[in-house]
C-alpha cells in the first residue's frame, strides 16, 4: 500500500461534444443545494456558475475542467492552504478562500474561475470589507475560486448512477468520462499487449 493512487478525473473526448452545455448546467445544478436549487430551473435564484467550461470555436467544441493534477499548481499557489487533496480529489475549501486569484492564474487549463459566493440564493457578504455604492458604504460580495470537485459532496439519492459526476451522467453523447488512471492504464497495457 505504498503506492499513492493517482486521482481520478473527468475528461472530454474530442469529436463527440455537441456543445449543448448540459454538463455545465448539471454541474451547477448539483452544487447548489445550499442555494435552494432543486430539480426545476425555476428554483434557480443565483447565476449559473459551472465548474467546467464548454469551449467553443469555429471548428470544435469541448468542455474543459480540472484534471486533478497530482502536483496541483493551484494548491501550490494558494497562500492559505484552501486547496487540499481529499479522498483523491483536489478540493477548494470555500470558507478559507480569500479570492486572491493565484490559483486561477496558476492553473494551466483555465479550470478555475473566480466568482461571487452565494448562499441561500443570496450573495455572501464580506465580514467587514465594504465598498462605496451609490454614496453608501456597503459590504462587498465574497468572491471564491470554483473548480470541479468530481461531485464529491453530491447527494446521489435522486436517480443518480452511483458515483459518476453529474456532467458525465448527463452528457447526451457520452463525450465525458470519469477516468481512473490506474485502471485505465492497466487496460491500455492489456490492449497494447493484445495487439502484439
Amino acid at each position: 500500500m505504498n503506492n499513492v493512487l493517482p486521482s481520478p478525473f473527468v475528461i472530454a473526448e474530442a469529436g463527440k461534444c455537441i456543445g449543448c452545455k448540459a454538463c455545465e448546467l448539471a454541474c451547477f445544478a448539483v452544487h447548489n443545494d445550499h442555494n435552494g436549487v432543486v430539480a426545476a430551473v425555476g428554483t434557480v435564484t443565483v447565476p449559473v456558475i459551472p465548474r467546467l467550461h464548454v469551449v467553443r470555436t469555429e471548428s470544435f467544441t469541448l468542455p474543459v475542467q480540472c484534471r486533478q493534477c497530482e502536483n496541483a499548481p493551484c494548491a501550490e499557489a494558494c497562500p492559505v492552504q484552501a486547496i487540499r487533496r481529499e479522498e483523491g480529489t483536489m478540493v477548494i475549501h470555500e470558507e478559507s478562500c480569500i479570492g486572491c486569484k493565484g490559483c486561477a492564474m496558476a492553473c494551466p487549463f483555465g479550470a478555475i474561475s473566480l466568482n461571487k459566493a452565494f448562499s441561500n440564493g443570496k450573495v455572501v457578504p464580506q465580514i467587514q470589507l465594504k465598498e462605496r455604492q451609490h454614496n453608501a458604504m456597503v459590504r462587498s460580495a465574497k468572491v471564491i475560486a470554483y473548480k470541479c470537485d468530481l461531485c464529491r459532496t453530491r447527494d446521489h439519492k435522486d436517480g443518480a448512477m452511483g458515483n459518476v459526476p453529474a456532467c458525465v451522467e448527463v452528457c447526451p453523447v457520452g463525450a465525458l468520462s470519469l477516468v481512473h488512471p490506474d485502471t485505465s492504464v492497466s487496460r491500455s497495457r492489456t490492449a497494447a499487449a493484445m495487439r502484439l
Binding site: 474543459v64 480569500i98 486572491c100 474561475s113 465594504k130
Partner: protein
Amino acid sequence: MNRFVIADPDKCIGCHTCEVACVVAHAGNNMFLQDESGADFYPRLTVVETDEVTAPVQCRHCEDAPCANVCPNGSITSKDNSIFINQDSCIGCKTCMLVCPYGAITMVPAHKGGQKQLQSGLRSNTAGAWRSKERIVANKCDLCEDSGKGPECVRVCPTNALQFIVPSQIEDSISRKRLASAQSLLQFGGFSRL
C-alpha cells in the same frame, strides 16, 4: 474583480528597481529635492530572494481581503477594484499585517505633507523625555492610484517581470488556457475506451 500587480520569477533579476520606484512614486519627486535627507523609505513591495525564487511580493488585492475583514474600524475598503487602506483612520492595530497571507502589509510611520504625523494624545517616553508618539499605520500597495499613471513598479521594471493585472486579463488568460487545453485534446479521442 480587483486589479493587482504580480511578478514573474522567471524574469525577475532581483534588482530592487521596483522597491525604489514604489517609494519614489509615493513620496513624489520632491523626495530628491528636499533639503532634509532623512526621508522615510518604506517600499510597498518587497523583493524576496530564496534559494529557488527571486521576486517582489506585494498585495494581491484579494477579493475577500482578510486584512479588510479583520479591520476593526473599516479602514480597509474596496475601492475602484482595489483594496484600499485609509491611513487617516488606521489605528495601527497590526491585525491586518498578521492575517495577510502574503506578508504584503507593513506598519510604517504616517506622513502628511512630508512631515511625520504625531498623535495628539498618546505620549511615549524615550530617553527620559515624554514625546508625542508617532502615528504608525498599515502600508501596502495601492496600485499608485493617486498618480493616475498606473503602478510605477510595473513601469520601471527593466525585465518586464511585473505585470499589472486587470480583471479582464484574468478572464482572457483563463479563456486562452481553456481553449489551449481543449485544443490539446483534439488530437486524441476515445478516452471512453480506457
